[in-house]
């Protein structure tokens, strides 16, 4: 399996995977979705009862227009910056054996008094400051002038096999590498194929039908259908693929890819070991 990197931005990647087959690319795809771990908020403690403010001499209700469960769910969805070298799974942590420690958990506090909108950026990590949520403008809930929110939230590592909030990637998809054959002798340059293509793959240049954007082709075959002389043949290669994915910002796409390939290699090593012992 060869991987050629086309785009590798923070939150977006496009790869050309060649010398392989569909099951292998799909294995990589599924590892990127369900096996690469990241941090997400798992435990939340809500302060109940009134929240006093000594400065203003005013008491706030610890209630919000949304149910606590919904706020908890929204908090769980937030992307939390993840350093896979630093963090361990909580239940496999050597330091604390599941109690929770700086090696396996991040604790956030949120303390807001209404009237206001509570944003993801209002979550303050206890201790370290570079671990604020990746996006700070995600609205969580709104409070009126009698309401306040005091929350302690604990983030830990997990994988999307347990819950989708631990999924570092989205839009992970691959397609066959397109092959478009044009029979220039029978092509009559009517231009109907150029018109019909929704992705502007084909073009006519210097009295010749050319392929302007091969990788944009998504196999709709409209060009084949409208071509009266039948000069176009669209097919996909079964040994070369275009793999694209995005990340939610917890990890960069490079980190996700490296970790994913490592995990995939581990799985294959395991199978090889098992097959030897048969």
């Amino acid at each position: 399996m060869d991987i050629e990197v086309k785009i590798l931005k923070d939150r977006e990647a496009k790869l050309l995977v060649s010398n392989t087959n569909p099951p292998m690319v799909n294995a990589l795809r599924r590892v990127l979705i369900a096996d690469v771990p990241k941090l997400a908020i798992e435990d939340i403690e809500f302060h109940l009862g009134t929240i006093g403010d000594e400065m203003e001499d005013k008491e706030y209700e610890s209630s919000a227009p949304l149910f606590d469960e919904i706020i908890a769910h929204r908090l769980g969805m937030l992307p939390i910056p993840t350093d896979l070298e630093l963090f361990d799974f909580r239940d496999r942590c050597d330091e604390c054996e599941g109690e929770g420690c700086p090696n396996c958990t991040i604790i956030y506090s949120l303390n807001k008094k209404g009237p206001c909108t509570v944003y993801s950026g209002d979550l303050i990590p206890v201790g370290e400051n570079d671990l604020r949520p990746v996006d700070d403008l995600i609205p969580l809930v709104k409070l009126d002038d009698t309401q306040a929110l005091l929350i302690y939230a604990t983030a830990e590592l997990g994988t999307a096999k347990q819950h989708a909030k631990w999924q570092p990637t989205n839009g992970v998809a691959y397609k066959y590498y397109p092959e478009i054959e044009i029979d220039q002798d029978s092509c009559n340059l009517c231009g109907e194929c150029v018109e019909s293509c929704p992705k502007e793959v084909l073009d006519i240049e210097d009295e010749e039908l050319i392929i302007a954007d091969l990788e944009g082709c998504k196999f709709c075959s409209l060009c084949e259908e409208v071509c009266a002389p039948g000069a176009i043949d669209v097919s996909g290669r079964e040994d070369k693929f275009i793999l694209t994915f995005e990340t939610d910002g917890s990890l960069t796409s490079e980190e996700v890819l490296k970790e994913g390939l490592q995990i995939l290699k581990g799985k294959f090593d395991e199978i090889a070991e098992m097959s030897e012992s048969i």
């Binding site: 996006d135 989708a164 839009g171």
Partner: protein, 62 residues
């Protein structure tokens, strides 16, 4: 109610651009163009914005 944090279908984080989207719409910009600009490309994510109603202010009273 409140804008969902993520797209229901693909899981992309969309809540982070909602405030910008709302502001630009109030200034009379075209929703489609604003979404293109903000990188909300897939139609699953776009419908999250187009079908959203901010009801939180109505619910707040109760």
């Amino acid at each position: 109610m409140m804008i969902p944090v993520r797209c229901f279908t693909c899981g992309k984080v969309i809540g982070n651009v909602y405030e910008v989207y709302k502001d630009r719409l109030e200034q009379g910009e075209d929703p489609g163009e604003v979404l293109d600009d903000l990188g909300i490309d897939r139609y699953c994510c776009r419908r999250m914005f187009l079908s959203h109603q901010d009801l939180i202010d109505d619910v707040m009273k109760y």
